[in-house]
Symmetry: C2
Subunit: 339 residues, 2 copies
DNA sequence: TTGTACGCGTTATCAT
DNA sequence: ATGATAACGCGTACAA
């Protein structure tokens, strides 16, 4: 591999001039610049990223912290990661994966102290997340995808669950529905302080209450069978339900199956609206699911951009971005049928 | 951040001794080792990864090359990436994402020459993949997930499509089926030389022919609607079909829906077997899909392990690993009903 | 067993 | 506008 030294010799200049010709930090005569670039081309020179990082104290690497156990958002996750990686590359950064289980948060500390990453992106943030304190202490720039209970001073990009739930209700209520049940993620995720579960649940309760409608909500494990069971129980307890909001892909499919088995037609008898889900997953359903798609791509993009701004110090305000899910009306919601 | 120098001073030894105490390359007296570790703890010392890389000429970084446009294997992809990242970490390596479109293969060259990665993992390999030549020239260790047409001297881990298709047929034929159709990925993916499409197609044709059964195969775009259309066309052309092998998740769901709409019951009238698909996706189907699950986790693990061995030079033989998909019998396959 | 000193390939601070 | 040269933090021959 050719080094800067080789280039300098071939071009008849000093290494520093080569460096400056490359970075543009200091003016260089067009002629010498040309000679240098010619030499680079001839040698097939590419600057050594590691050496550059050591000298400049900047690696241009962003670490993505994600727990091994995924709480059901597998669909959106890939979309998010891809988007984050692409954005990073556009901005001249690399995205590095740090799959760290909930039980080994301590490892995070070590990784950070290795100073391999200029900044950290935190996925699957919980209301009270120990990783945040860690990052705070370590002085490493970081951005949350999701947010803690008190995220006042922190950069974050998250789904706007309040608006999402409100829009979901607007859609259903606009169709004449009043008895609306909510099927969320597992109780375990709630207890773990998993943001989506907590915030969507709260939003549902508040918005229903404000409208004077009864709050019927259930937690559900991430499986089709659990979805079936919840539907059975729900209609047993509340036979007058005409619409379902779900936030749990596996359960949604189970629910649809159970409704079919029970002879309830979707959407004639029951409307189903799946929120914070992946469009790719929704497209698998028959009839095709009306959804509110999680903005994985947007979150990845702005999370990375904000983090880079913070790293490079060109940022004034903290990022507090809340993106609602986008309503995509398909075949599982329709006007309520009067009996 | 504390450096090795700080540790050395505090422990009253030279930096080299600290280094040797850390790497164990040279013996160090227990006492001095203890003093050094005490100093490290006191200072919260962690070796600087970049400096270490520059000196040792080894970054402990593995790059994962994946095209932006995913040819439908989104389900398995996340599983694979997660597994790769976890395995890398277990082995003391980092996984870095390089999302590079098919149209910008040249970029790959630059990235490699930056010498940020010790080795490269190549995803979504095609029969004739330009990236392979690039990597070969650049002398960078690399392992393919998938394989080119002639992968004789290359390390690869891939799905064993031949065995997978044979097992699929054994299952269906064992149930009495003879008129079996195959619904594959898009024609575009075939033309692009996408490995799974090519190899599974060939395997289907060969195994059916060997058994004296008619070869009925279709390409299908990655969408539910395309799956529906193919089913309609298939039964129009071959009304006697009793079983379907699919390798296209979106199309599989569309096919199931169309079969239902046409009044064909699964599995009573038609058995459906989805191959090389993700169990998580399969679980969404109703009735639950019998599948042959893609070994994403295994491929990620052995791909990374093999690559690391090659990087560290402790490998003798080249990796030629072919893992068949595992049959998971659920509710969409059953004995053929005699009319 | 331990210390000294050089090298890794750049960036950045001095000069000139 | 350009050239020396000292960092950057660590690995590792070589010497002691």
């Amino acid at each position: 591999m050719a080094t800067m030294n080789d280039v300098a010799k071939l071009a008849g200049v000093s290494v520093s001039t080569v460096s400056y010709a490359l970075t543009g930090v200091r003016p260089v005569t067009p002629e010498t610049r040309a000679r240098i670039h010619a030499a680079m081309d001839e040698l097939g020179y590419q600057p050594n990223a590691i050496a550059r990082s050591l000298a400049s104290r900047r690696t241009h690497i962003i670490a993505l912290l994600f727990p091994g156990i995924e709480l059901g958002l597998s669909g959106t996750a890939l979309e998010f990661v891809t988007s984050a990686a692409e954005t990073a590359r556009e901005e001249g950064y690399h995205l590095m994966l740090w799959p760290i289980g909930d039980d080994e948060v301590g490892e995070t500390r070590n990784l950070i102290h290795q100073q391999l990453a200029d900044g950290v992106l935190v996925m699957e943030v919980r209301l009270d997340d120990p990783r945040v304190d860690l990052l705070r202490e370590s002085q490493t720039p970081f951005t949350l995808i999701g947010r803690t209970a008190d995220a006042a001073g922190l950069d974050y990009a998250d789904i706007d669950f309040d608006t999402t739930v409100r829009d979901a209700l607007d859609h259903l209520i606009g169709l004449g529905h009043e008895r609306i049940a909510f099927v969320s993620h597992s109780k375990a995720s709630l207890d773990a302080g998993y943001g989506p579960t907590v915030r969507a649940g709260e939003a549902f309760e508040r918005h229903m209450t404000e409208r004077g409608l009864p709050v019927v909500a259930r937690h559900c494990d991430e499986s089709a069978d659990a979805g079936r069971a919840v539907v059975s129980e729900l209609w047993h307890a509340h036979p007058d339900i005409t619409a379902l909001i779900t936030m749990n892909d596996a359960a949604t499919f189970g629910a649809m199956a159970q409704l079919a088995d029970d002879g309830r037609q979707v959407p004639r008898d029951v409307s189903v609206l799946s929120i914070a889900s992946s469009p790719r997953v929704a497209a698998l359903s028959h009839p095709r699911l009306t959804t509110m798609a999680a903005p994985g791509t947007e979150l990845g993009r702005s999370g990375v951009r904000s983090l880079i701004e913070r790293i490079e110090g060109s940022q004034s305000a903290t990022l507090h971005e809340l993106v609602p899910c986008r309503l995509d009306i398909q075949a599982t919601t329709s006007p309520r049928t009067k009996e």
